[in-house]
């Protein structure tokens, strides 16, 4: 068995004091060790942003890629070796903004990875512009008269695209988030965990207290996540209350299950066969 300390590293953390990211980081370590995973068993892939720096702050295999592209990279990594446990750390801008197209298509493929979106409704690393999940009217230095587009609701879209594991967490409920991540990793198929997160520096609206007042724990309520309509209804909630937990879960064949040759073993483990190819290249 492993412990959370196994995942500690001594790389200097670069987040602001009080940032919600710390909770998510902590929950990740706990869920990995609870699942008996060691650093060598975990591959973290991330885009670019404050959220996407996460993999640097724990010991693991990791690939810190480009803004918006983590899911595409992760999909390739999984196809090459579908034995890997892959978790993606992304931000609301990274995943739903620049990466919007890959988000939709990762779901359509049901590729078996766990996506954690650190959703602070703002672009943190670039100093506080609106993100796709910012509410209409949200004022920033750039959106000085407030945001004028409808916010993007990742849960609704994921549910409608047929995602088989759709969950919401709150960064500061660490135990709850730990459970979500465990469930997400255990789920065979694509898992979306949208984790709402305070950004004390740039988001003065949805603060720790604001969330605290609203979150409602679905685990505690023994909610059974098998009803798509319920899930869709809950996904609409925000202003009054925010359900946290697994909204919907349903397993089905994953992308690599559907590629016949991968059902017999990983791509990386196959043998190179020069002789077979020679047959193709003979002139007679």
């Amino acid at each position: 068995m492993t412990t959370t300390q196994d995942f500690d590293n001594d790389f200097e953390n670069k987040w602001c004091p009080g940032c919600g990211n710390f909770g998510i980081l902590d929950s990740m370590k706990k869920s990995f060790s609870n699942l008996g995973l060691a650093p060598k068993d975990v591959l973290l892939i991330s885009g670019i942003g404050q959220a996407a720096k996460t993999p640097h702050f724990l010991k693991c295999n990791m690939f810190h890629t480009l803004h918006g592209r983590a899911l595409a990279v992760a999909t390739g990594a999984k196809i090459a070796n579908h034995d890997l446990t892959i978790v993606v750390n992304s931000g609301d801008g990274d995943c739903y903004g620049e990466g919007g197209n890959h988000f939709m298509n990762a779901i359509r493929r049901n590729i078996d990875i766990t996506l954690l979106v650190h959703n602070n409704q703002v672009y943190g690393l670039t100093q506080g512009q609106a993100s796709p999940t910012s509410k209409m009217g949200f004022v920033t230095k750039v959106q000085k008269h407030g945001v004028i587009a409808e916010p993007f609701n990742p849960l609704t879209i994921a549910l409608n695209l047929g995602a088989g594991f759709v969950a919401r967490g709150f960064s500061n409920n660490r135990e709850h988030t730990r459970q979500l991540i465990e469930d997400g990793i255990k789920h065979k198929g694509f898992s979306l965990i949208d984790i709402v997160q305070p950004c004390p520096t740039y988001n003065k609206i949805s603060t720790h207290g604001w969330y605290k007042q609203r979150v409602e724990d679905l685990y505690e309520n023994n909610y059974v996540p098998d009803d798509l309509e319920n899930a869709l209804a809950m996904a609409q909630e925000w202003d009054e209350k925010i359900p946290i937990g697994v909204y919907y879960q349903k397993e089905g064949p994953t992308f690599t299950d559907r590629i016949k040759k991968l059902t017999e073993g990983t791509l990386i483990d196959k043998k190179y066969d020069a002789a077979k190819l020679d047959g193709y290249l003979s002139v007679s």
Binding site: K40, M62, F63, A72, G76, T85, K276
Partner: protein, 568 residues
């Protein structure tokens, strides 16, 4: 290379959707099976039905790989074919049209579609046309029949029978009109395969142990993917069509990071979208292969035509500087070899590689002049815990003299694979210090001298001549043929054909170009990009340019004429 002896050119023209490409393929295969050399050039519009398209078959008992400006047999399935190509008929050339009676002198009417309808339906027209042309050429019919059995044998006996009858009727329709330039047909074993550039790259990819490919369709890159898909059932290869080119390049990056050799193929527009990913491969030292099958731009340009306009773009693509390889094969055999080499070098140096082909090379069908060689085994340049004294202290980007750091795979032992597209310390973690930054840049750039040593010199042909024609990529065949033609006219001309473009083979170029009196650039772009690159890299200046950028491949004679105008 000596002057082509038997050199017969056939054009079959019609609308898109009439299946003239099938006629070309049938004829080519029969000729190839007889041991002849073929070049089949497909000329088609960016549409699915209608319009005008044609195939040009060049058949010879000597290697050839350029289209010809002269035509001996013109088979016209529409009137536009006659209109457009009649002017190219050589003395004694024949025109075949679909019909009962000839309408003009030099035009032979053969009731292609009538025969087809009689033997089983309009769809048989192609086979009749192929039969007729073979009749004209005097091909032994049994080879054609064998081919039809192979092609239609798996379908119903009726379809096969009808096709054989159609072929026979076509074959016989020619009557006594036996074509005067006809070959004497003696069956020889072909020296090489009959292959398109597309297929050559795909086979090279499998030979180079490529196991994953993600792509988004874009002509002429799609052909490579089609050819790869055709191999997926037999080899450990997954090919996935994805949402866009950005996904394509990033997926192959993920797969390569995970440990399998990976590639994508596209054309200029898609390559543009991959440029950021190329840089990620650069800074994370992840081996990937991108094939940019060039076509004319800018932007959408001419989707189904050919050109060489992306050399400088490819060399400089993506922000900041990092080592990369760029190769540009001149023939399908080189395409095969360079694909194998690209995958090998990507792994060896942990860098991205771009293979530059173009529509002409990828879509055309050629007889190879030599067999293709598959590597016996693949060296992955990957280490594991066993190779390390202390796997726990392993560093992905350790400083080394060569700039290449030992590479582990993720989740493959206690040595962790930590990679970052931000500037990083040897352990892979992001870092902004000035000193570390400089050292990391120098580490990556330190690969360049060894990479440059991997570059082959441009291949020469009469390369000691006073005047050299200099080109790169798929113009190789046309330039060499132009050299033959120029020498026939008494000009002391040779040529150099570059395939290994970057890191630029500076020493080879200085040696080979430094000793000639004059050199003339022959390129399919409007600014002579290789010429400029040679000047940038060697200080040597070209003395003239033969540039074609209308989307069509060079005819050798065009190079001859423009060269003569320059050398006076």
């Amino acid at each position: 290379m000596i002057k082509l002896k038997n050199d017969i050119v056939v054009i079959i023209g019609g609308e898109a959707g009439q299946g003239i490409q099938t006629v070309g393929d049938l004829l080519a295969t029969v000729c190839w099976k007889m041991g002849l050399y073929i070049t089949v050039v497909n000329d088609f519009e960016s549409r699915i039905r209608g319009g005008h398209s044609f195939v040009q078959l060049r058949i010879s008992d000597q290697p050839n790989s350029a289209p010809s400006d002269k035509v001996h047999i013109l088979a016209a399935l529409n009137s536009k074919t006659v209109e457009l190509h009649k002017g190219d008929l050589s003395e004694g050339g024949l025109v075949l049209v679909d019909g009962e009676e000839s309408t003009a002198a030099g035009v032979t009417a053969i009731p292609f579609s009538k025969i087809a309808r009689e033997v089983g339906g309009k769809i048989m027209t192609n086979t009749v046309v192929a039969g007729a042309i073979m009749g004209l050429l005097g091909t032994p019919f049994d080879i054609f029949e064998e081919l039809l059995v192979k092609k239609f044998g798996k379908k119903s006996p009726e379809i096969l029978d009808n096709n054989i009858t159609a072929a026979k009727r076509g074959f016989e329709s020619i009557g006594e009109n036996s074509f005067k330039n006809g070959f004497t047909w003696e069956k020889k074993i072909p020296l090489g395969l009959l292959l398109t550039g597309n297929k050559a790259v795909a086979l090279g990819a499998v030979a180079g142990d490529c196991r994953f490919s993600a792509f988004y369709p874009m002509s002429p890159g799609t052909g490579i993917m089609n050819a790869l898909v055709a191999l997926t059932d037999d080899f450990p290869l997954v090919v996935e069509q994805v949402e866009d080119e950005i996904a394509a390049v990033n997926m192959i990056l993920g797969a390569a990071y995970s440990g399998v050799r990976s590639m994508t193929a596209t054309s200029g527009g898609g390559f543009s979208l991959m440029v950021e990913g190329l840089g990620l491969a650069g800074i994370t030292e992840t081996p990937i292969l991108i094939v940019n099958a060039q076509r004319p731009g800018p932007a959408t340009g001419l989707p189904t035509r050919t050109g060489q306009p992306d050399l400088q773009f490819t060399i400089h693509a993506s922000q900041d500087e990092f080592p990369r390889f760029v190769f540009a094969p001149g023939t399908p055999a080189e395409a095969f070899d360079l694909t194998v080499k690209s995958l090998h070098l990507a792994d060896k140096y942990q860098v991205p590689v771009v293979l530059l082909t173009d529509q002409y090379l990828t879509d055309s069908l050629f007889t190879l002049d030599r067999p293709l060689k598959v590597p016996d085994s693949i060296d992955r340049f990957i280490i594991t815990d066993e190779d390390l004294d202390n796997p726990e202290s392993y560093e992905r980007y350790a400083f080394t003299e060569s700039g290449v750091s030992p590479r582990v795979l993720p989740c493959n032992g206690n040595a962790l694979c930590v990679a970052s597209g931000n500037e990083h310390t040897p352990d892979g973690h992001l870092n902004e210090d000035a000193d570390n930054r400089k050292r990391m840049m120098d580490k990556r750039n330190a690969k360049l001298p060894a990479m440059q040593k991997e570059m082959s010199a441009p291949s020469g042909y009469f390369e000691d001549s006073d005047i050299l024609l200099v080109g790169w990529g798929s113009t190789q065949g046309a330039i060499r043929e132009a050299v033959d033609l120029l020498r026939e006219r008494g000009q002391e001309v040779g040529c150099l054909n570059f395939t290994d473009m970057w890191p630029f083979p500076v020493e080879h170029s200085q040696r080979l170009l430094g000793r000639t009196k004059r050199f003339i650039m022959v390129e399919q772009n409007s600014s002579s990009q290789l010429g400029l690159l040679i000047r940038e890299q060697t200080g040597l200046s070209f003395d003239g340019t033969v540039l074609k950028y209308d989307g069509r491949p060079f005819f050798p004679i065009e190079i001859v004429e423009e060269t003569l105008a320059i050398i006076g």
